[in-house]
Symmetry: C2
Subunit: 291 residues, 2 copies
């Protein structure tokens, strides 16, 4: 069993955290990007890449679709992390989970694997979740909800692992609680402050101009995971301007915008791999202006 680092947060921040920053920078420099590929399988959008795919099992359909796209994106140095979202696999039960396991195994040590599972419970239950995410699934990183506080988040802050705490998310509901004003400060600002103390990263939606405030609170030293630049319509230029002086520790995520790029591509409307590559090229062109 691994020992979670429960105490000495400052030490954690300056050793374990520095290790993760180094790893984030390594993959970023190797691929000259901070793009993260979000993996959200939906049967209805997964079209056959090769004719043989028509006779595959549902599990093979998911795996092969993402294997083909991810292999290509890694080969072409288009991405510096992948982010499978647990919900989209688990909705298909054991066959979806088996596909998730195979995807993580295939890319282990080839890129950074952030398992987006938004876990969080009381301390001893969060320990069980950390065992699930890191030891069973084999992820390098995870996402966690801050709501239940310190003992809920800390079991995820394990040596050589990266935890992103939800901060200001990209959805409409973010205004319900995250934007509440508490003693003159917004709830998400408290969460951002805690990330410095606890030594974790933050999830910040690209659709929100709160990103500038969060970068200022964290002195641009806390790694951000930034979803929402694709189908959710976030502003990539604004994001890049906000984080540009320490770009390589951050990750900008696009999920269905890459996976299902074929749906919007004129040239590659029946070629998901080529369409995904085209979309990444487009995003990376902007990202590389800042790297």
């Amino acid at each position: 069993m691994h020992t979670p680092l429960y105490s000495g947060y400052f030490i954690l921040f300056s050793t374990q955290h520095l290790f993760m920053l180094k790893l984030l920078r390594k993959y970023s420099e190797e691929n000259n990007t901070i793009l993260c590929f979000g993996i959200d399988p939906r049967f209805e959008d997964i079209i056959p890449i090769h004719p043989i795919a028509r006779v595959q099992s549902p599990e093979e359909r998911i795996m092969n679709y993402y294997f083909e796209i991810t292999d290509k994106l890694l080969e072409e140095n288009q991405i510096a992390a992948i982010k499978p979202n647990y919900a989209y696999f688990a909705q298909y039960g054991f066959l979806g989970m088996s596909a998730l396991k195979n995807i993580i195994q295939r890319y282990k040590n080839k890129t950074l694997i952030i398992l987006d599972a938004k876990r969080g419970d009381i301390g001893k239950s969060s320990e069980a979740y950390a065992t699930e995410l890191y030891d069973f699934w084999g992820a390098d990183g995870s996402t966690v909800s801050p709501y239940m506080g310190a003992d809920s988040v800390k079991p995820f802050l394990r040596k050589n692992k990266l935890t992103y705490m939800l901060c200001r998310t990209s959805n409409k509901g973010a205004k319900d609680f995250e934007e509440l004003s508490c003693n003159g400060k917004k709830l998400y600002e408290y969460v951002a402050e805690k990330s410095l103390e606890w030594g974790c990263g933050l999830v910040v939606g690209a659709t929100s101009d709160s990103i500038k405030k969060i970068v200022s609170i964290t002195k641009n030293k806390v790694p951000l995971l930034i979803p929402g630049v694709g189908s959710q319509g976030g502003d990539l230029k604004m994001v890049l301007e906000s984080i540009k002086d320490n770009l390589s520790i951050h990750r900008i995520n696009s999920s269905s915008g890459i996976s299902y790029a074929y749906k919007k591509s004129k040239k590659y409307s029946d070629q998901p791999v080529e369409a995904a590559l085209e979309e990444c090229n487009k995003l990376n062109k902007k990202i590389r202006e800042y790297l």
Copy 2:
């Protein structure tokens, strides 16, 4: 596919919600209790019930341990719900998940099954999580984190299903964010207010005297799921006093306090089933003074 009830919250609260209140009351009246049995498997605490258990697979060890205890508790009318906690199963990977699936299948329609998975993501991802919890696992109810707001919670509010939103939890970290004062009101009070608007239940720890305030905000009409009376040392009498005038819609949960009662029992130190029954009898003696 089931259609999540996205709109008409007042209607939802007065029809779907009334259905669930009826179901909560039914199981409560049939068993003359509001006790919920929390299922948190930990290998190190699962001791053989019969000598044959020594040669079982790890998966069978979990299942048989909980089958024997739960069968007995249902037979003796000691419980009105079970609450498997996802974390404790998932920490053992596919074999733990398979045990979870078998436990849910065995008790489906025999008692209320609340799958404690503390999910929550942006709207379309929460829809996938709701499909996981209700359609794949087959749960009657779920727990969800409020942090990301309305579109994160609403996909779980499905017809004939019960969703409990985290409100004021029983752990130490609850003070970090849940207790933050926002415009003179605490964050958890905002969450409690939203439960009335959205039509969901609330998770409220028994260790907190905030339970009285929450019952007052919700006019004791919103079902509470109350963990923390067992090993966490919550005050059962205070809890019962707070909810007594509408007792049957609520559930008081004990997990390891029941499962691993043998560890504290003088009489049944090597008999987990009898020790669990003894513990439930003790809790129900107090609960039944109010029913």
